[in-house]
Symmetry: C2
């Protein structure tokens, strides 16, 4: 069955954004943003998925994001790759435009299980924090791919928030890359 | 100059204890507690330090801890190693018994800088959470050695709490061991 994969960048103290949405710490890795190893890692990841799950806020911010003119070839390629995927947005309020995107606003667990049973590649749980909490508390996250950046922010939006039950994991791989450590965990079933 | 090293075990979501002091997750690593790689890693660490800094609660709990009868050779050796170090306790209330331990209750920054300037090996900042916060906010932690265990607890005592300023780090090494990932960071100066 298709897996649901949480894949995102996090500070060493577990924040996905600073208190005002800051993500400048993504450049603390010591290498350029297009760092070859991270890029290749992400390219490989994108090839394993064909579907992306967003919360509404994340979708409105990043769901149709286009890199600015003059963006690097790598960045343009990355966003083209992201936008080639099927997208679902979990929201009670989002309105479709021309029938897009697919919106799920009820029976999350049932609907997600149905999507998982469809043939296809794995599914990227994009975020943000609220949908991550919902999915974790429904036991719907199969794999965690975390890029841990070498910074302690002290405050911000935590990755893990209001998690109701302990989750035991299996460490599958660790890949250091320009000061960042990429951690892969599977949920123990 | 001697370095102050924070060395402890933490869950993937950043807790050093569960809400009721639980540390049973230390056995989630997939290997036995005496796992050879972790043990050897810790032995090497102990050889690099000659001094331990405790908060009062941690000292009262672990500062003179003796493993139970029938403990393994490895565990007994570990605690003998710990107890062979010089110990300082940061506390306003702790009373010495027979002149032990050394207690520091004022001018932490000044007194710690004096200890750092003395000849000797590095210093282990043992914890708990309160003294870690104090040391981090005074800019006194030089190195972080974190053993990240493969579990999301959801609640508990956070390692990083009330940190006032962002801390930029340099990733020095990563060592996977039986499902645990050992991370070594230096504070950027």
């Amino acid at each position: 069955m298709r897996k649901i994969i949480l894949n995102l960048a996090v500070t060493l103290d577990g924040y996905i954004e600073g208190p005002n949405g800051e993500i400048d710490w993504l450049e603390t890795g010591g290498g350029p943003p297009e760092d070859a190893a991270v890029e290749s890692h992400f390219d490989k990841f994108l090839a394993t998925i064909d579907t992306i799950f967003y919360g509404r806020i994340s979708y409105e911010k990043w769901g149709e994001f286009q890199p600015p003119e003059g963006a690097s070839v790598a960045e343009t390629k990355l966003w083209n790759g992201v936008h080639s995927k099927n997208k679902y947005v979990f929201s009670n309020s989002l309105k479709k435009v021309n029938g897009k995107p697919e919106v799920i606003n009820s029976d999350i667990s049932t609907q997600v299980q149905q999507i998982k049973k469809q043939p296809g590649k794995d599914i990227w749980l994009y975020g943000g924090a609220s949908i991550i909490t919902t999915f974790m508390n429904l036991g719907l996250v199969d794999k965690y791919l975390l890029a841990v950046f070498p910074v302690i922010l002290g405050e911000g939006k935590p990755l893990f928030s209001e998690i109701r039950n302990r989750v035991d994991l299996t460490l599958k791989s660790t890949t250091p890359s320009s000061g960042v450590i990429l951690l892969e965990y599977d949920t123990k079933r």
